[in-house]
Amino acid sequence: MKPLTNPQSAIRNPQSALAWLGLLPFALFAGAFLLGPAAIIVIGSFQDAAGGFTLANIGDLFQPRILDSYWLSVKVSAVTAVGGGLFGFLLAYAAVGGGLPRPVRTALLTFSGVASNFAGIPLAFAFIATLGRTGFVTALLTQVFGFHLYDTGFSLYTFWGLALTYLYFQFPLMVLIMTPALDGLKREWREAAENLGATSWHYWRYVALPILLPSLLGTMILLFGNAFGAYATAFALTGGTLNLVTIQIGAQIRGDVLHNPNLGYALAFGMVVIMALSIGGYTLLQRRSARWLQ
């Protein structure tokens, strides 16, 4: 973020006290369709059926059924954030520093751009056609290796199937964000380290990794939020049988399955808190990494 060099220099306008009026349309719109709805959820979580203030809804979040759904969402988000993060990082590193031909790098980035945007229902379809009970890979494994994937207890419609599907949009996002960061590692740093007698391990341990770590962790946190908020993919894949928080909220919207509207708001509020922590953490760490990587 560059500071503006000449704040309010050239144009002096007698009406500049009214300049904030220019923000009014945006403020009204954001208030009506973003901040307002969010506020309603937050307020509703602290109200009882009669509209009085209560903390009971927040307390009720700690019942096993709801805790389980948070735990499942956290698990699938964490697994795909760490797994997708590491894999995406290795891919980005291979593309930047692996000495691969230029077209490979271009192809990787193009694919990553498309795959990170290819999500929701079509993604679920693609994985059903590939790894579902009659999917392409499932059939291939049976025909070629005599290996019956679904006899091993694996199913696309369970935790690991969902995780495998989420990875398809998770690691490309990591590639997209980490590639510029890796490009920012200056050649001179490595040369300087090597002149001082550093091995590759030393260089990574004491130079590259400390510089990359905020960016690496920050992006993984972003991936966490990315998976945590996902609804369409999970809905299309499992039809609502996996008890994720988003699936629960969807069911609650369709017809008060919790038999307590305010508990529904609390459920959504808890989700906003987790998302805020994750996006906040990402922003903070990204800002830190910007000190070294331009």
Binding site: G22, P37, Y93, N117, A129, I177, G229, A232
Partner: protein, 264 residues
């Protein structure tokens, strides 16, 4: 030294090959699956069924309309706002950045929850009108639309352009329309395509607000058919590819760096 380099290159190939496998296997599997509607022969029947389905065309057109309305409205709302902030209220920039990032914090499922609660009874009975869905999509488009416009404005000298236009007698609407907008063309087009890619298949909000959009149609087909969903997945992938390819062509920026809110 050379040995290390060669070793690391082999590893690089290994990871890229693994990545390519992960990218391509589901695509190939889906393509193969989509061609097997007829027993023992490859055919395009699944595609013919999909493309011949009136509901497919209607829902796709409906979502295209939503996307166009979203794009136009978000340009009309965000360009003057961002311009004004650059020109007159630079201190508000962090606030705008914060608000336009909020759709990441409030995921679509939560946002639509709040919207339904807020607008399902008089005096604000809006759930009966697709305007509410478009408004929600405009909110979803905030993070990348605003970012694109902001980046575009930073790349030009807003102040000098404005002063030059003013000294020639142009009034603010003229300045926006004939000076700022043309200079923002590349940013706006990439923002618009990203918005299009997100809105066209959006499921969560369209389904929960009950509109006959493309996303809910996809879900319906997924529940009722075997091979058509695979064909739809291939078509969607092609559409995403084409959209992002156009962005890459038009703007040399990095469109993928902001993940779209709510596509998943």
């Amino acid at each position: 030294m050379r040995g290390r380099r060669r070793g690391s290159r082999a590893w690089a190939w290994f990871w890229v090959a693994l990545g390519a496998l992960y990218f391509l296997l589901p695509l190939y599997g889906t393509l193969d699956f989509s061609l097997r509607l007829r027993r023992d022969v490859l055919s395009l029947d699944a595609y013919a069924n999909v493309l011949g389905d009136e509901q497919f065309r209607n829902s796709f057109l409906y979502s295209t309309g939503l996307a166009v309305a979203t794009i136009l409205f978000s340009i009309v709302l965000l360009v003057p706002t961002a311009y004004w902030v650059h020109l007159r209220l630079p201190r508000w920039r962090p606030v705008l950045e914060f608000v336009t990032l909020l759709p990441f914090v409030v995921p679509p499922i939560v946002l639509v929850f709040g919207l339904i609660r807020l607008y399902s009874r008089p005096p604000f009975l809006l759930v009966t009108s697709p305007v509410l869905l478009v408004a929600a999509y405009v909110v979803l488009s905030f993070p990348y639309m605003y970012r694109a416009i902001d980046t575009g404005l930073r790349a030009m000298d807003v102040r000098s352009l404005t002063e030059a236009a003013q000294s020639l007698g142009a009034r603010p609407p003229t300045i926006l329309w004939r000076v700022i907008l043309p200079n923002l063309r590349v940013s706006l087009i990439s923002g618009a395509f990203l918005t299009f890619a997100t809105v066209i298949g959006e499921f969560t909000m369209a389904a929960l607000l009950n509109w006959p959009a493309f996303g809910p149609y996809l879900a319906l087909i997924g529940g009722n058919r075997a091979y058509e969903p695979a064909a739809l997945a291939i078509l969607s992938f092609g559409l995403t590819w084409a959209t992002l390819g156009l962005i890459g062509r038009i703007g040399r920026g990095a469109p993928g760096q902001t993940p779209p809110a709510g596509g998943h």
